[in-house]
């Protein structure tokens, strides 16, 4: 039993952090917000630079130009992306690229390199009637519909544009397919592949949420040190201290569950879904709690969209409901550890 990351994994995280600290500042995230609000086409930005570090394709085999890495290798980098509120489909790309590699043949293989290079943005549409993120900026979608899993170009997918509380997500409702696209699987196989992608996206969301939570906490800590009221920094007030201590505790006891889930996925442990569910549930709860505490510490300034906090808070809210709500994941844990109650509720 060794529950820690390797130096290589930490170095990758540091690289990703540096790139994002430089290229995905809050102002960049804010521009993505404003671009969506005004219906502008998405500007180029940090996603390409990240792709250049090899992050997007890291889980591909070496033959496919990747590094043959796994979910544990990627975990800290996804967290770092959350810390920067990267407004790009990183979770979606990392969750599915290995499934794509295993299924794409012929011309399709070229798509893989475009995805890994950050040139072709990929999103997930895993439920008809479900909310699809990055519907405006992605050009490729993995779609689960009519018992098939397929890779489709945007024009092949019937998407009904909606508005997320977090504008950078440019969400839409999946109504169905207009054209079949490249089939990745059908029947049982499609269900299995979809599940593999869904659970990886849920884990990715958990890690991303933990990163967002860390950032919201840090913003509050900095503010509490700087903001003076009643002749001293508000962070000297015990109530503020305890809010922030509670935020830290929520975060620190969420992270181990996410790391463990990453390991079960990397090792393909048969019970990985329950571990993913614990991770996603706790990360969602922690992020909601920390958003609330951070806002409370900021006071009115945090309640404006001029301040950066809302960029992280709204992403967090959106991700708590993406790839399985808290209730979905709790119920899944319940089914694994408890007998059924009556004929439902399980």
């Amino acid at each position: 039993m060794r529950f820690a990351f390797t130096e290589d994994q930490q170095m990758l995280r540091d690289t990703v952090r540096e790139v994002l600290a430089r290229e995905c500042t809050p102002d960049v995230v804010r521009r993505a917000w404003e671009a969506q609000d005004q219906g502008e086409k998405k500007a180029e930005g940090p996603f390409q630079t990240l792709a250049e570090t090899g992050l997007l394709g890291m889980m591909l085999s070496e033959e496919a130009g990747g590094l043959g890495m796994n979910e544990v290798d990627a975990a800290l980098s996804i967290e770092a992306a959350g810390y920067a509120a990267l407004p790009e489909p990183l979770i979606e790309t990392l969750a599915s690229i290995r499934v794509l590699e295993s299924r794409l043949k012929g011309d399709g293989v070229e798509l893989l390199s475009q995805i890994a290079a950050g040139e072709a943005r990929l999103s997930l549409a895993l439920d008809v009637g479900g909310v699809v993120p990055f519907a405006e900026t992605a050009v490729l979608f993995i779609v689960f519909a009519d018992g098939r899993l397929s890779l489709n170009r945007r024009e092949e997918v019937e998407l009904d544009v909606q508005v997320s509380g977090d504008r950078t997500r440019s969400v839409a409702r999946l109504r169905g397919l207009k054209a079949p696209g490249i089939e990745l699987g059908r029947g049982e196989e499609a269900v299995t592949l979809r599940a593999a992608i869904f659970d990886r996206a849920a884990l990715g969301s958990a890690l991303f949420l933990n990163g967002l939570a860390r950032k919201m906490l840090e913003l509050a800590v900095e503010y509490a040190k700087d903001r003076v009221q009643f002749g001293k920094p508000i962070g000297a007030q015990q109530a503020v201290k305890h809010h922030l201590a509670n935020a830290l505790i929520a975060l620190e006891f969420s992270k181990p569950l996410a790391y463990r889930a990453a390991w079960t996925l990397a090792e393909n442990e048969p019970d990985y879904p329950v571990h993913v569910s614990m991770a996603k549930l706790r990360a969602s709860e922690a992020a909601r709690t920390i958003a609330k505490l951070s806002l409370q510490v900021h006071g009115a300034i945090g309640y404006t969209i001029e301040h950066d906090l809302h960029l992280f808070m709204k992403r967090a809210w959106a991700l708590t409901a993406a790839y399985g709500t808290e209730d979905f994941h709790r119920a899944r844990v319940g089914r694994a550890i408890l007998p059924e109650q009556g004929d439902k509720n399980g």
Binding site: V163, D166, V171, Q229
Partner: protein, 386 residues
């Protein structure tokens, strides 16, 4: 104790209900914290005033009905039950007016109250400054004595709907030697004209809810001093106590939210996680507790009592109840949680997400809940300050 409404109260309720049912817009108005929505809300307020429902508890001479506090609660219950528009006059009628009734001159009452209630003159609050939020007494805006009045200079912030209003009220330092609570004066001041610059600030939910107000040597005549010069703190405290206490958050609002939650649950109950039933029941009971707590407070006030520091309990309770009720609603919405008001598919036009964001401001404004808990501990329970 008699928990039946009197015949008079029931009759008043029936009248309110009938008028509201006939007059409340069928489609909800756009947010009153946007330019477009504000104008529509002002129209609505004028209609309300014409029907003498704008300020039911005020004396008739200012456009009210001289209704009792209990009747005011009844009006509020009916108002929220009917889904009527939020009140863009509220900072005037709930925060400023009580102070004018208590400290204003006859001339001020005559000049200010009726146009305020009629939505002819719109009022914003100007309490906070960038470095004086929770610690209101640290404010630095100044008023300089000049012939016939004062010259105001400084910056006020978080002025709700400030960009759309005509005037504001707030404290300024009139004694340059003074510190903290001393040497402050309560002024009414213009939000347009020479020396006034406004900057709209977008709120969390995207509405331009706030304004920053920059005042550069703005003239205010003597008649716009409220209460005595250098006594502003005492005058202002009367107002903040009504902000924190009864006025702003009548039980009707939370009863209506609880009813909407029950309706939402009813729609989602077959897919909702069973524990959400608990959350819904608890939300309902909380609203009921708040309602009867308030009936108790109002009975006491009608019999000559005061609210005092109890208003801090009130504020902590409703603000945290409101957050929790909205959290239950968002959990019921499941994966549609994030859909905002612009979404065709958003449940109840995105009202829950918007309401949730608004609810999150509750524990912050009108004195943070941390400050309120200090007040409860020190003034109600008698714990030592230091």
């Amino acid at each position: 104790m008699d928990l039946r409404f009197t015949e008079k109260e029931e009759k008043f309720r029936a009248e309110c209900r009938a008028w509201l049912e006939a007059n409340v817009p069928k489609e909800p108005l756009p947010s009153g914290d946007t330019r477009e929505g504000f104008d529509l809300h002002v129209e609505w307020e004028k209609k309300l005033f014409e029907a003498r429902y704008a300020v039911v508890s005020w004396p008739e001479e200012y456009g009210g009905r001289g209704a009792s506090l209990m009747e005011w609660l009844i009006f509020e219950e009916e108002y929220y039950r009917a889904g009527a528009p939020s009140r863009v006059t509220q900072n005037g009628i709930f925060l400023l007016a009580p102070t004018i009734f208590e400290f204003g001159t006859e001339e001020q009452k005559e000049r200010i109250l009726r146009p305020m209630a009629a939505a002819e003159h719109l009022w914003a609050q100007g309490w906070s400054e960038p470095n004086a939020g929770s610690d209101l007494a640290s404010l630095t805006s100044t008023a300089r004595r000049v012939e016939g009045g004062w010259r105001l200079t400084g910056q006020k912030t978080w002025c709700t709907r400030g960009s759309f209003c005509d005037s504001a009220f707030g404290l300024f330092r009139t004694d340059p030697e003074s510190e903290r609570h001393r040497g402050l004066t309560y002024f009414l001041f213009p939000l347009r004209g020479e020396g006034v610059t406004l900057r709209g600030v977008d709120r969390l939910d995207g509405d331009e809810g706030f304004a920053e107000v920059f005042l550069d040597d703005v003239f205010v005549p003597d008649r716009d001093v409220l209460g005595e010069v250098n006594q502003g703190w005492r005058v202002a405290m009367a107002t903040t106590s009504s902000e924190r206490g009864l006025s702003l958050r009548s039980p009707g609002r939370f009863m209506a939210t609880a009813s909407r939650l029950i309706e939402l649950y009813t729609r989602h109950r077959n897919t909702a996680d069973p524990y959400l039933r608990k959350e819904v029941i608890d939300a309902y009971i909380s609203a009921e507790a708040y309602r009867y707590y308030t009936f108790g407070t109002v009975t006491r006030m009608m019999e000559g009592g005061e609210i005092g520091a109890d208003s801090s309990m009130n504020k902590v309770y409703w603000s945290e109840m409101d957050v929790r009720t909205h959290e239950a609603a968002l959990a019921l919405l499941g994966s549609d949680f994030e859909l905002d008001e612009g979404s065709s598919d958003a449940s109840d036009r995105g009202a829950w997400l918007k309401g949730f964001q608004f609810a999150l401001a509750g524990p912050i404004y009108a004195g943070t809940n941390e400050i309120q808990r200090n007040i409860i501990a020190e003034r109600v329970l008698g714990l030592p300050r230091k």
